[in-house]
């Protein structure tokens, strides 16, 4: 009987599952995370719960990088962060194809085992790049705090950029969709789950600068060329709740 795998939702957990699957050599029926519920699981299959194991995770990671390619591993990470439905099975098929074709897997741009993963990875990279511009910090008295609501789990993608850019400044980027936040204390950065975040007040000049920015933003439009359709394409409404100049 085909097995259905349930893992803890972490990337480490997922690679642990992949390790088990490739070790067993059997095609899995499905791979699901615990929090999405087993409703999507096949009732007639054997269900296996797997917790992340550091050793298996490392072995799997090494196998992808060395036997297929670093590019494949990067695509795997990005695609996983997309959190798209069934992405776990798509990645499984993608890596399975890679075991046969090596790094050529990334050239099979018309192969249905490959397309979903490359598309998902592309989307995550794209959203990540957009967010580099759309994140808005407010000075909460020495700590710069930003809220984001991305489609994908892009915190790991954007953190390196903000560490370089604001390396001498304390900041928090809070993903309110996933209740995750990246905390940076001027040296180290960690992503932690958060329920709610209480910050003590705001800097004196916070409103002053936010208002200046809003007024400036409005003034920059060339009225005779108004084109809100284009604007919406470039800065979708779903993000605007957390973007200073649209609030």
């Amino acid at each position: 009987m085909q097995k259905s795998y349930v893992y803890d939702g972490t990337f480490e957990g997922y690679l642990t599952v992949l390790y088990d699957i490739f070790k067993s050599g059997d095609e899995p029926a499905s791979i699901c995370r615990t929090d999405t519920g087993s409703a999507t699981l096949n009732l007639f299959s054997d269900e296996r719960h797997t917790a992340a194991e550091e050793k298996k995770y490392m072995l799997m990671k090494k196998a992808i990088i060395e036997k297929i390619s670093a590019e494949t591993f990067e695509n795997t990470v990005h695609a996983f962060l997309s959190e798209m439905p069934d992405i776990e099975m798509h990645i499984y098929r993608y890596i399975n194809t890679g075991r046969e074709k090596g790094n050529d897997v990334n050239k099979l741009l018309a192969d249905d085992n490959v397309i979903p993963v490359l598309r998902a990875a592309q989307r995550v990279k794209h959203e990540g790049h957009r967010m580099l511009g759309f994140v808005r910090f407010a000075d909460a008295g020495g700590i710069y705090y930003a809220k984001i609501n991305p489609d994908a789990n892009i915190l790991p993608v954007i953190i390196p950029h903000f560490r370089t850019r604001f390396g001498s400044q304390k900041w928090i980027i809070h993903d309110v969709v996933r209740n995750l936040a990246a905390f940076y204390d001027g040296g180290k950065c960690a992503i932690k789950p958060v329920e709610s975040l209480e910050l003590n007040g705001a800097a004196d000049d916070e409103t002053k600068y936010a208002d200046m920015w809003k007024a400036y933003f409005k003034a920059m439009e060339i009225k005779s060329r108004h084109n809100s359709k284009l604007q919406q394409q470039l800065i979708p409404k779903k993000y605007r709740g957390n973007i200073t100049e649209f609030r």
Partner: protein, 428 residues
């Protein structure tokens, strides 16, 4: 006057400047400082007209001793005037930057007293940013025509990019509309900046680079009678002769009533759009200006993008077989951009590509299908002739706008939003 009010006035005065790019720098930052320059530019927001805001684009002052006909800040205009102190401007910039509103500063200015006096004020603001605020972000300084080499040298060591506006495509245009500016005042500093950039790149031991993101310029299009051919040939000269990174085209916006200025015509935006498309073809598609336009066709076709128009005049070079054509050939196919061409080359290394595979590759077939074959097969049904294809190419937009009356031609000629996007990303 409060800095907030100054910002409004001086932002308003600067917004007609089109350039906002923040890419292509590799300057090493000050240690312990704040900010970084991203190799690929970052847009932080988009205004309601769909333009990207990447940099804080602002004038140091809109006071000006000049009286250029087309300029909103000309001295004969009765508008609100303001001037930042260098300190005020530096403080606003760093505070915007820390909140991730912007990628850096784009500083321009009206001319007070003379070119050097103005530029020294600009340099002072930028020096406060770099030295007091330890700012490592992107800075673009718009140099003032007629500025001395000394002050240009200082500016170049602080900024990522320098630019001097060409303003108008011809000397005669300049004489008519900007009589205080001389072509030599523009080209001399441009040439000097070019030399300094080359010098700085050659000196491997120097830690200070001179305008590492290069030099650019801007032209106003449609304020004078110059043809597209004249403009695009000038751009080609700028790219090859002055090593410019970008030429920006700003379709003339009517802000002053002046008998020397033309009456606004329909769809100046479309013309600007076509020039940008052609500009991409010059820079990334290895086209020459005289291939795109000639004496018989001195202006771009409003119906077709420049590449499609070129292809329709050169049907003998098509169809192109996508499995064998080299990269340069692929790039010349209408609808196939840099990214698509690269994808085709990558994919065909694994196996031969059929017509059905192209869609999966993400190739937009709307225009491309008329000009290619895949494994010898044509990608559209119909006769391969210029007349048939140009009619078919015109078909699609007609449907989109069929509701519009003939008496509103400007609506028909506006580029669709996705086309505007393409002229930003350069996928033609």
């Amino acid at each position: 006057m409060e800095p907030a009010e100054k910002l409004l006035i001086l932002g308003e005065s600067a917004k007609y400047d089109v350039s906002c790019s923040s890419s292509g720098t590799d300057r090493a930052g000050i240690k312990g400082g704040i900010g970084s320059a991203a190799k690929a530019g970052i847009c932080h927001t988009f205004t309601a007209d769909g333009r990207c805001i990447s940099l804080l684009k602002v004038l140091l002052t809109n006071n000006c001793i000049y009286d250029c006909a087309y300029c909103i800040n000309r001295k004969s205009n009765d508008i609100k005037r303001a001037a930042f102190t260098p300190q005020e401007l530096a403080d606003i910039t760093i505070n915007f930057y820390k909140r991730n509103y912007i990628e850096g500063l784009f500083l321009s200015s009206g001319v007070v007293k003379n070119a050097d006096f103005t530029m020294e004020l600009m340099v002072r603001a930028v020096r406060i940013l770099r030295q007091d605020h330890l700012f490592n972000g992107y800075i673009h300084i718009k140099a003032i025509p007629g500025a001395s080499q000394e002050v240009l040298d200082e500016a170049g060591l602080l900024a990522d990019r320098l630019s001097i506006n060409m303003e108008l495509p011809s000397d005669s245009g300049l004489k008519l509309l900007a009589p205080d500016k001389k072509m030599a005042d523009i080209t001399a500093p441009m040439g000097h900046i070019k030399e300094k950039i080359i010098e700085s790149k050659a000196d491997k031991f120097s830690r200070k680079s001179f305008a590492p993101a290069g030099q650019s310029t801007q032209l106003i299009v449609g304020a004078t009678g110059d043809t597209d051919k004249q403009i695009i040939s000038l751009s080609e000269n700028m790219y090859t002769g002055m090593n410019l990174k970008r030429v920006y085209y700003s379709s003339y916006i009517h802000v002053n009533n002046d008998s020397r200025l033309p009456v606004p015509v329909n769809s100046p935006l479309l013309r600007e759009h076509r020039l940008y498309q052609a500009d991409w073809l010059l820079r990334f598609y290895k086209f020459k200006a005289d291939e795109l336009l000639d004496e018989e066709h001195p202006n771009f076709d409003t119906r077709f993008d420049p590449k499609a128009a070129w292809a329709l005049r050169h049907m003998e070079q098509f169809p192109v077989e996508i499995n064998t054509a080299d990269y340069e050939k692929l790039l010349r196919v209408p609808g196939i951009g840099v990214r698509s061409a690269q994808r085709i080359i990558k994919a065909r290394r694994a196996c031969a590509i059929g017509v059905d595979d192209l869609k999966k590759l993400g190739i937009v077939m709307k225009r491309a299908r008329f000009f290619i074959t895949a494994k010898g097969k044509s990608a559209f049904e119909g006769r391969f002739s210029g007349r048939v294809i140009s009619a078919r190419l015109l078909d699609a937009p007609k449907q989109r706008y069929e509701q519009l009356s003939l008496f509103k031609p400007e609506a028909v000629l506006l580029p669709a939003p996705e086309d505007t996007l393409k002229s930003i990303t350069g996928e033609l």
